[in-house]
């Protein structure tokens, strides 16, 4: 999987940001438009390309620290968005992104994101995807890291009839660091596929993946991963761990972490562990007065919380309320 990180139009699609405050980018599926706002009310101009495609460029001297991105649609029609984000060297940025497709008719959601991090740039990206039971979604990420760039991602996804999620990270500059924590929740008859790939092309870069799935009822969650270390990527460090929790005997989780190592002087590891709820954990909580349902609920909340990295308490509470539909 690879996105073309160049849009078919000219440089006018770029946007230079220098606002001091937060910015919010909304892909509005109902109106077929992209809105960009800042808290001070200033609306930086941006040219929106066809098919909800935009490219944002954060310059090295930008004071912008945080962007909220929303990709929302409640329309029965298909919904596609494409975002290319270029963060120049030295810039430091957080992205808090939410994707929602609430339509109750059969529909498809296709969302693509390309990220280019310049030398020493730092990006923390928190993404949550919520899809209705009639949605078939496809998400593609492609991240390129230059020298000393740092990329951290916390992904959470739930809902959707069938979801195909793929992410590719290219470590193109030495000293680049990528860290990913991802969790997919499967319910009902849903089918989810996560694919994570990391390509080490240069020396002394590191990548770390903690990928998880929680499968309920008769859902199927697949986790695929590939760590590829090229010939010239000596002293690379790469790790991929997958973890699955079943809440039903009919739920399925498949984990396939793979390695392709073409250099001997590297530290690489992968692992995969799947289990139902641990009866010893259950007994421990029950011995403290919690019913089976309460104990299971707490264990599951714990499993989820353990993967909600890069989110503050408020974000975690909001997410848990969305998942459990009640008190966080």
């Amino acid at each position: 999987m690879s996105l073309n990180l160049k849009l078919p139009h000219d440089e006018s699609a770029f946007m230079e940001w220098s606002d001091r405050d937060d910015a919010c980018v909304t892909f509005d599926g109902a109106r077929s438009e992209v809105l960009i706002e800042s808290r001070t009310g200033r609306r930086p101009a941006i040219e929106v390309l066809a098919d909800n495609a935009i490219k944002l460029k954060i310059s090295a001297n930008s004071l912008l620290r945080r962007i909220r991105i929303h990709r929302y649609s409640n329309q029965p029609s298909n919904f596609s968005t494409r975002l290319i984000l270029e963060v120049e060297g030295g810039a430091k940025l957080e992205i808090d992104e939410e994707i929602r497709q609430n339509s109750t008719s059969n529909n498809q959601a296709t969302h693509e994101t390309g990220i280019i991090l310049g030398e020493g740039a730092q990006l923390t990206w928190v993404q949550s995807g919520f899809f209705s039971s009639t949605t078939e979604s496809s998400q593609k990420h492609h991240v390129q890291l230059d020298k000393q760039a740092q990329f951290s991602m916390g992904y959470f996804g739930m809902g959707g009839r069938k979801n195909d999620f793929s992410s590719r990270i290219d470590l193109q500059g030495s000293g680049a660091i990528a860290k990913v924590h991802a969790l997919q929740l499967g319910r009902g008859r849903e089918k989810h596929i996560q694919s994570w790939e990391s390509f080490h092309r240069v020396p002394e870069a590191s990548s770390e993946f903690q990928i998880a799935a929680l499968a309920e009822e008769i859902s199927l969650c697949e986790m695929n991963g590939l760590l590829k270390v090229e010939v010239g990527a000596e002293k690379s460090s790469a790790i991929m761990k997958m973890k699955g929790l079943f809440r039903s005997t009919r739920a399925q989780i498949e984990g396939r972490p793979q390695l392709e190592i073409l250099n001997d002087n590297v530290q690489v590891a992968h692992g995969c562990a799947m289990s139902p709820i641990d009866p010893e954990q259950l007994f421990y909580l029950r011995s403290r007065g919690l019913s089976v349902a309460e104990a299971e609920d707490l264990i599951v909340r714990g499993f989820i919380s353990d993967f909600l990295h890069y989110r503050d308490d408020e974000q975690k509470d909001r997410l848990l309320k969305t998942i459990f539909g009640g008190v966080a």
Partner: protein, 248 residues
């Protein structure tokens, strides 16, 4: 003489077709502290887990009563609500669940009251100080990455917050340094009162130097082979288990 608070009669127990306890009988009255000592594999932990209702263990005969009411057939959570507490030898780690979150849920479930948040925090703070536990403990995930001593302190913290009628403490002294042992023992000792009873399960006399038991029992091959006063623990320390097992 007060009525029995915890009474086991002719208890037989098995797990995976292996017989672990054979006609074990034990009566603990209100206010009493009993120590149960035995070698590895003698059945001490199996007894503790059975009392709390671990579904892994099957009671094949006999009875267990708490304040005259049978515990057999009751779920672990029901036993906890009736005032039974088990301090685990190896408390389970639950990633993602903070100590604070867990303690609130446990106190609410067992005591049936919903302590106001402020009152709960103030009570916990007091207990943390008493157990020499830093405040940062509360935000850590339950037993995850805890040292042996931290785990036992957390078990003791729960004991103090839940205020049970009967506490079964399974090797609370294992994995503790001298200072931690003293701190934990003093906190347990401070909970002794005429209404509360303890069953201390241990290999060694050292815990009993801090919490003086009224009765000491030696468990071997699934049976209590000898009972006596605190002097029996001293005798055991001097002679070793072998002498008692052979004599039985």
């Amino acid at each position: 003489m007060t009525a029995p608070l915890l009474e086991l009669k002719n208890l037989c127990l098995k797990v995976a077709d292996r017989e672990l306890l054979k006609n074990l009988s034990l009566t603990i009255r209100a206010g009493e502290v009993h120590a149960l000592m035995g070698r590895n594999g003698s059945g001490k932990t199996s007894l503790a887990q059975t009392l709390m209702g671990n579904p892994k263990y099957e009671v094949t005969a006999g009875s267990i009563e708490l304040a005259g009411e049978s515990l057999l057939g009751l779920a672990p959570e029901e036993r906890a609500k009736k005032g039974l507490f088990l301090g685990f030898q190896y408390p389970t780690a639950i990633p993602g669940v903070s100590v604070s979150q867990f303690l609130r849920a446990a106190v609410r479930s067992v005591r049936g009251d919903s302590l106001p948040a402020k009152e709960f925090r103030s009570r916990v703070k007091k207990e943390l100080e008493s157990l020499k536990i830093p405040d940062s403990f509360m935000t850590r995930f339950l037993n995850e990455g805890f040292s042996g001593g931290e785990k036992k302190k957390l078990e003791t913290l729960q004991l103090r917050l839940l205020e049970p009628k009967v506490a079964v403490l399974d090797e609370t002294d294992s994995g503790l340094d001298i200072d931690a042992l003293r701190t934990i023992a003093e906190n347990i000792e401070a909970m002794r009162n005429p209404q509360r009873s303890f069953l201390l399960i241990t290999h060694y006399q050292r815990l009993l130097d801090y919490i003086r038991p009224d009765y000491v029992h030696i468990l071997a091959n699934g049976r209590i082979v000898k009972s006596g006063s605190f002097e029996l623990a001293k005798e055991l320390e001097a002679k070793g288990y072998e002498a008692f097992v052979e004599a039985a």
